[in-house]
Symmetry: C2
Subunit: 332 residues, 2 copies
Amino acid sequence: MILAAKFLDVSSVTSHTTHLLIMFYIIGLGLADEKDITVRGLEAVKGSTRVYLEAYTSILMVQKERLVRELAMGLQTRVSLSWQAKEAFYEKPLILADRDMVETQSDEILHRADEVDVALLVVGDPFGATTHTDILLRARALHIPTRVIHNASIMNAVGAAGLQLYQFGQTVSLVFFTETWKPDSFYDRIKENADLGLHTLVLLDIKVKEISDENLARGRKIYEPPRYMSIPLAVNQLLEIESIRKAGILDSDNTLAVALSRVGGGEDQRIVAGTLANLANHPEESFGEPLHSLIIVGKRLHHLEVEYAEDFAIDRERWRMVASKVYGCALD
Amino acid sequence: MILAAKFLDVSSVTSHTTHLLIMFYIIGLGLADEKDITVRGLEAVKGSTRVYLEAYTSILMVQKERLVRELAMGLQTRVSLSWQAKEAFYEKPLILADRDMVETQSDEILHRADEVDVALLVVGDPFGATTHTDILLRARALHIPTRVIHNASIMNAVGAAGLQLYQFGQTVSLVFFTETWKPDSFYDRIKENADLGLHTLVLLDIKVKEISDENLARGRKIYEPPRYMSIPLAVNQLLEIESIRKAGILDSDNTLAVALSRVGGGEDQRIVAGTLANLANHPEESFGEPLHSLIIVGKRLHHLEVEYAEDFAIDRERWRMVASKVYGCALD
């Protein structure tokens, strides 16, 4: 009996996928563009009656006219066209849903998902955001069967820098500071990792759906363009907190770090390595397009990690020197 | 000029991919079956002159006759058929390469990779194993352009248990103990994570290419079937070391853990949650097919994590009781 089941199981892999169960799918899109969806994910999209695309930025929500007007505006254009590229590629109309909608109107997304297949497409892997566990919990409460289709996310693609994944401690987020608000709990987390010699992945902030003071005062719901934290700004914020907390874990000249952008293996992937000072003084453009992430290198650093990441170094000499003298790596 | 470049860049996404540069690709296959490859990965496979499939187990290397003879043997059959399924699906003959070959004969794999596209397919994400950074370094030394196509790996798909990825510390591996060899450095790593309240992902051992004492004595190079560590065995090994080291981080009745198997969102995915005692006493079969992983739950546990994972609990009452009384989670 078990044998028969196994044969069925195996043969079903080669034949066309037919499933009788109606599903709510959350499908990871990976990190670069619409071709990073998996074949299984693409099949689920094509079989779904409604397909939602979770938009990172409110800019995806603008009307067609504005899209055309903004054709010359760099990133926004890119993101918008990329949405149209996705729609064409997936051969499905996509319903854009911003993070707010996924959070607050999950019942609308789940509407009739027990009668027809519904898919929610998200950047990276579905379990990268708590929002997605929330909507899965809601589906469960409504007795709607769910299926998650995994993909790469920054949590594992960060390996592209050559630093080994098992040498990473907890991941932290860094938000935009204002004059009066400089949340610094990330510093304790980096210190905990650093004390153990572990690397820290730092995810940099995005600001979307901001309304300027002027528009707010006039009651106009006009959103500012999205803002993405740059690597030099991130490094300066880290050093600002170090100068206040003074635990000695982040040093301009003696702490190594690696900046990552668009880690999808594509042509626009950028990986840049150096001391914190190297990164802070490097031109913003050279770090590539957002989103950006930053790795603070821990002291358990292995010489093979140094050699692999050396290829991305702004200043190879300095990279090797600090790895050897400060981190104690035995290099050739 | 920048604008023109952006337009080109964007339009290339929608048109058919044509690249002039010859490449060595390492392509992640994700976690479940051949349909977890990305569309970009599938294109690269179809465009490559030689395609290697890194085999987890030596059993993939056996001759066709033996494959047929072993058709009735469960997992081996499954793995073998799965290899054939891949070959049919990718429309390419696959050259099987075991981990040893990728490590020691990388130049053979890279042969003429500066003249024709060559692809190496690996389970999960390419940066899951140091072997793959080694072969990328070797390609770099030979001036062969490389491209990594990412995919899901256990390092991010572990989120399927409902425990948040940013609450994980460093990942550890657990090897099969023998009478005389019980390496326990994993214990220090789990303790470091536990002291910070973080979860630990424990990857369980696989034994391949083992030769029995009898065959070794007779000089016969006959490999034993691969062995995969089961969840009950893993838990017993953990508790054995706790009983020696006595740091009080692992307790049968008061430490929560989650077992994962085939986390690809597929029909054979299994997630089982409970105390260490719950897991140790649960029938081996109920944990599903190998490979297995285990999460040791840390004390920073959030009540939403408890509620999500509760659905996988062997004993819901006990799961909630320990989460509330021992971990201090405020539950409804």
